[in-house]
């Protein structure tokens, strides 16, 4: 596979290029005594005391800090987050306990060549998923030819019959995608999950960068790191490019949020602010004669594009869940009449369904006649009798996931689960095999992260963001999420994970 070859090749040149680690180590105050994880790939160190070749200058520069100096910088970074109210609220309390998303100051670097491959792989995957969605809601070629099992798609909870035969503007379904990547112990990037509904977290990418620039201005002068700050503008342009034709030159774009008690409200407000668009709640909109209007102090104003951060289920109580107070009655009618663009389109959940995920590589071959650049993690589909039997027999070495859960919920980590938990999951799988998939445990790569005992390796993943209108743009880098507990492979923020700034290096660094 292409990406594997590249990684191995890089690894060998790196080892050759790294010179004289002993003499460096004494100067690296901060990394003194840092022990990389014994088996996983470390994003900064090739082996104890030896940085990955292209990361040596960064390690050297950061290493000049003493742990005490580093601690001071950490405290000042935390203060920036607190003072600016960059927080997420925890669901349990209506008045909202606000917490800051733990942020680690050691950046997670991605080399120029790694990024180039990753970017191509992401674009390829995105093209295929978008074609798949159009196909599913129109000709169903891929189902008829048996490449993807029809019942898996048509019986998915996320399949929306309302979308059949409907062409969203520009035939674009996936305006914003956040793809979760992990790196295995050989240094290969694998796709863990596609998020094509309402992926979140991008505001942290931008805020993390802002804080890093405040804390380490010198580092940014020394290293050419690709900018992430254009994201809001890019998203706005993309959304304008797929406005209904009647909208004219300056379409009215709004961000539809579930409201201030949603844990991602900060992000909604952040994006609206930086995109220069209105943040609206369902109650601010109404539909009249299949057109969507905003309630303003001067009367109704027509709306052309809605960047919605509300799930399909809650969008329109007339079409979907009738108990939804978050949505707008009649919105689907206006959408189907072509008077408003919804981003992402309705019904994209069939493309990022965990049960469909195993077929994405096949989709790439089917629609694009190309070899997949980014491989999937091998996946067993419990709906298939053969796979199911294997999964049930090997529960102790697999990760089992419920296909419609997110945020690290509904998961069984076989190797660390108790016997009771495993048999409970076995029961669940037998009762509803369609709802489960299983994967071998991938030992996620690690990155030096500050802990109570100084710098220690903690597992990380990476979520790059793709923005699509009439063309697609990939945000250089993405959100690096990090587990903060030793040995933990769960990086979700709702489960106590933190984040890092991701540095895509320019100029071959």
């Amino acid at each position: 596979m292409e990406s594997r070859d590249m990684a191995t090749q890089e690894q060998s040149t790196e080892t050759a290029r790294t010179a004289d680690p002993e003499s460096h180590m004494a100067r690296w105050l901060l990394f003194n005594g840092y022990e990389p994880h014994p088996t996983s790939w470390d994003e900064l160190f090739a082996s104890p005391g030896t940085p990955q070749a292209h990361m040596a200058p960064l390690v050297e520069r950061l290493g000049e800090l003493s742990p005490a100096e580093f601690q001071k910088l950490r405290a000042s970074a935390d203060l920036v987050f607190i003072n600016q109210g960059i927080t997420f609220s925890v669901y349990s309390d209506r008045r909202g306990v606000e917490k800051i998303f733990p942020f680690d100051l050691i950046p997670r670097p991605v080399s120029t060549s790694e990024w180039r491959t990753m970017e191509q792989g992401l674009l390829q995957r995105n093209r295929a998923l978008n074609l798949f969605l159009h196909d599913v809601y129109h000709d169903r070629r891929i189902l008829q030819e048996g490449v993807v099992p029809a019942d898996l798609v048509l019986r998915s909870k996320c399949y929306r019959p309302e979308m059949v035969g409907f062409d969203p503007p520009g035939r674009q379904y996936l305006h914003v995608v956040g793809t979760d990547l992990v790196r295995d112990c050989d240094g290969r990037f694998l796709v863990l999950e596609d998020n094509g509904r309402t992926p979140s977290g991008v505001s942290y990418v931008l805020e993390n960068r802002l804080v890093m620039k405040k804390v380490f201005p010198g580092l940014f002068e020394r290293f050419r790191v690709r900018r992430v700050e254009d994201y809001p503008q890019r998203l706005r342009e993309a959304l304008c490019s797929v406005a209904p034709p009647a909208a004219g030159d300056s379409p009215c774009v709004v961000l539809l949020s579930p409201g201030p008690y949603n844990s991602a409200y900060f992000e909604h407000s952040f994006l609206a602010r930086h995109m220069g668009i209105e943040l609206v709640l369902g109650q601010d909109l109404f539909v009249h004669d299949d057109r969507v209007f905003l309630k303003t102090t001067r009367g109704p104003q027509s709306v052309d594009v809605i960047y919605r951060r509300i799930d399909d289920d809650f969008l329109d109580p007339k079409t979907f869940r009738p108990d939804s107070l978050l949505g707008v009655p009649g919105l689907m009618g206006a959408y189907r009449a072509g008077n408003v663009t919804l981003a992402n389109a309705v019904g994209t959940g069939v493309a990022d369904d965990k049960a469909i995920y195993p077929f994405v590589e096949d989709m790439i071959r089917f629609y694009l006649s190309e070899a997949p650049i980014l491989p999937n993690v091998p996946t067993f589909i419990c709906a298939r009798p053969k796979d199911r039997a294997y999964v049930l027999e090997n529960l102790d070495s697999l990760v089992v996931k419920a296909v419609n859960e997110s945020g690290g919920h509904g998961m069984l980590m076989g190797h660390s689960a108790t016997k009771a938990e495993r048999s409970e999951f076995a029961e669940k799988i037998r009762a509803d095999p369609r709802n489960y998939i299983a994967q071998p445990l991938v030992t996620l790569s690690t990155c030096p992260t500050w802990t109570d005992e100084g710098l220690a390796p903690r597992h990380v993943d990476l979520r790059p963001y793709l923005v699509s209108g009439t063309s697609t743009w990939v945000l250089p880098g993405g959100l690096t999420r990090t587990a903060l507990v030793r040995g933990s492979l769960v990086v979700n923020s709702s489960q106590g994970g933190g984040s890092k700034d991701t540095w895509v290096m320019e100029n071959g660094q």
Partner: protein, 340 residues
Amino acid sequence: MISRVAEHCFWMSRYLERAENIARTLEVNANLLLDFTVPLEQQWKPLLIISGIHDMPGEPDGETVQSYLTWELANPSSIASSLAAARENARIIREVISADMWERINYYHIWMNSSAARDLYNRNRSEFYCQIKRINQLIHGITEGTMSHGESWDFYLLGKHLERACQTARILDVKYHILLPTPDHVGTPVDSAHWMAILTSCSGYEPFNKKRLVSELGSSVADFLVFDPLFPRSVRYCLARCQRAVHAISGRPLAHPRSEVEHAIDLLVRWLNLVKIDDFVKAGLHEELTSVIKRIHRIGDLIHRTYFDVQIRDWMQHVPETPSGTRSESDHPHEFTAVG
């Protein structure tokens, strides 16, 4: 401007103003008690009455009342509740207010929840209340200098001056509730001290002193706080500012009120321009102030109906037929038919 956003902006401003005014009354009352012996029952209870609180748990002694009006989150009109509500409104419209405003509002929210604030309250009460007053004054300055002076600014000013008009009327009404020991005390040092305290709590002591007394002290103070055309906390001045704000929002000239809100404010302002303090005193100061406060509340209700909660069926009479015409239409203010 989105109606809901305008509403949050209006209330953010009102709550900030409210916090400042509660601090003013608490501070001045404490000062007053340093100089004169007042029966316990009369020391702090008036503060509860003007805040409309009739059910505070416990005895209305100094520490209990101050703590209840300062910290108690179960009391929606405490300083802590007001500042928390202001911050919550600001958080919801974070994309409308300026970054500088948000940072300050958030900073004081964090401060109010810190031990530093409690320490200051316990150590130096008067400095604590000064600090609370400064929060609103500082944020107002930041707002004036950093937020666009468009519609959101008009709603901000509307909220601020409506709240202030109401609070000044209430503070003045305290005098009615602090009974003098006997009618013989009218005009004595105790009586004048009360009036001075009321002036001071409105920051009106010095500007008032620069004016000549028109009649006896009590009427003069009331005249100043209700009718002065230039003093920024007088009821009349504040309502005139509200009037300017609603006309800035509709874009109509002051002379041509059209919406219900504009009419209601116009009537009240014109009435205040016509009547004199002697008419107030004759009719009873307390009764007249109560009536002013009621009319201000009515204006608040009309603001809600006119801008924040218009019914769709009333709106749809104004939707033009073609989609392309809709956008330009929003530049021209619509008439609103209020919902009966």
